[in-house]
Each structure stands twice: as structure tokens, then as C-alpha cells.
């Protein structure tokens, strides 16, 4: 592993983490909207 790579943040990881955050928003959001559509409880 050459010197340069050692300190540069892995770019692929950043890309995968962006995908991860998008997944969180999409999946959590869909559950949240489903709950909202089901009406109040008081």
C-alpha cells in the first residue's frame, strides 16, 4: 500500500455510505408515511 493511499479517505466507502443514507431515508420514510395514513389513536 503506497504512501498516498494510506492517508486518503477511501472514496468507495463514501459512495456506499451515501447509498446507505438514501436507503435509510427511503425505507424509514415509507414506514412513517404508512403510519400517518392509518389515522390518529386519541
Amino acid at each position: 500500500m503506497n504512501e498516498k493511499d494510506k492517508y486518503k479517505t477511501p472514496q468507495g466507502t463514501i459512495a456506499l455510505m451515501v447509498i446507505f443514507v438514501i436507503l435509510i431515508i427511503a425505507l424509514w420514510g415509507s414506514a412513517y408515511l404508512t403510519m400517518l395514513s392509518r389515522g390518529v389513536t386519541q
Binding site: 463514501i14 443514507v21 412513517y32 389515522g39 390518529v40
Partner: protein
């Protein structure tokens, strides 16, 4: 302690995301009114199904109309049939459920609504639902309560 610059940014983004989610939950709970059950009252399961306890009334009398379109029902969980297990109300009715159990733990979830309460002996769970669209809504026992747990369900019939 050294944290990589991008990792630090990622954690800050995660914190921000969680704060937004918590805000959305607070709005849906306090402003919109989708609330979880809270502590209500203790009862004695050995006598909860006998008068003068409200769950001691005959099943057909445990659904009461307090005022036009405003109902309350004292729902009793028992091995292995809810009582009453059919609740009929007109469309637009607002129904408050007082749920308890006289033997073991049961669950109470009305499909298609946010009504979801554990029915525990000795406790009373309270939530309210408004049924605008006519139709039949099943409610299930969703906590294992013995051999015939899978037969324990009921229906809310919302008429025109």
C-alpha cells in the same frame, strides 16, 4: 483521538438525520395525535370479568354510545376469544377501546389502523380510533397465548 475527516462528516450527517426523524415523530405524535398507550389503571384479573367491573357486563352491553358518534368499548381478552368479538358502529364513529385480559397476555391490533396494544392481565390499555370508511376491520391477537392463539380474532363492522 483521531477521526477521519469524512467519517466525522458522516457521523454529523447521521446525527442530523436522526434529529429530523425525531422531529417527524414528535409532530406525528403530539401535533397529529398518533400516540402510544400510556399508563392508565391497574385492575385485578381475577375479578375483572365480574360485575361491578365494566368488563363484567354482558358482551353486548360493553359497547356504549356516550354521545352521537362517540363510543367506548370495554374489550376483554381471554383464552381464546375476544369479548365482544364483533363491534358494529356507523361510519364516522370515534371509538375508545379499554383493553384488558383475564388470564394470560394477549395482543390487540386492528388491521389498517394504528391501534396496537398489549392486553395484559392486571393492566388496562386505552387508545381511540375514528372509523370513517365503511367496511370490516379485523382485529387480531398478536401475542402467543396458548394452543388456540391462532383462532383469537374479531371484527369491527363499520356501517354506512
Amino acid at each position: 483521538m483521531h477521526i477521519d475527516r469524512y467519517e466525522r462528516l458522516f457521523i454529523y450527517a447521521a446525527v442530523a438525520l436522526l434529529v429530523v426523524f425525531m422531529g417527524a415523530l414528535a409532530v406525528s405524535s403530539f401535533a397529529f395525535g398518533i400516540r402510544v398507550p400510556t399508563a392508565y389503571e391497574k385492575v385485578d384479573p381475577r375479578t375483572v370479568a365480574t360485575p361491578p367491573s365494566p368488563w363484567g357486563l354482558p358482551a353486548e352491553e360493553r359497547l356504549r354510545e356516550l354521545s352521537p358518534g362517540n363510543y367506548e368499548v370495554y374489550l376483554l381478552g381471554q383464552m381464546w376469544q375476544f369479548s365482544p368479538n364483533t363491534i358494529t358502529v356507523p361510519a364516522g364513529s370515534r371509538v375508545t377501546f379499554y383493553v384488558t385480559s383475564k388470564d394470560v397476555q394477549h395482543g390487540f391490533k386492528i388491521a389498517g389502523t394504528n391501534i396496537n396494544i398489549m392486553a395484559l392481565p392486571g393492566e388496562v390499555g386505552v387508545l381511540t380510533a375514528t372509523f370513517d370508511t365503511p367496511g370490516t376491520y379485523n382485529f387480531y391477537c398478536h401475542e402467543y397465548c396458548g394452543a388456540l392463539h391462532h383462532t383469537m380474532y374479531g371484527q369491527i363492522v363499520v356501517e354506512e
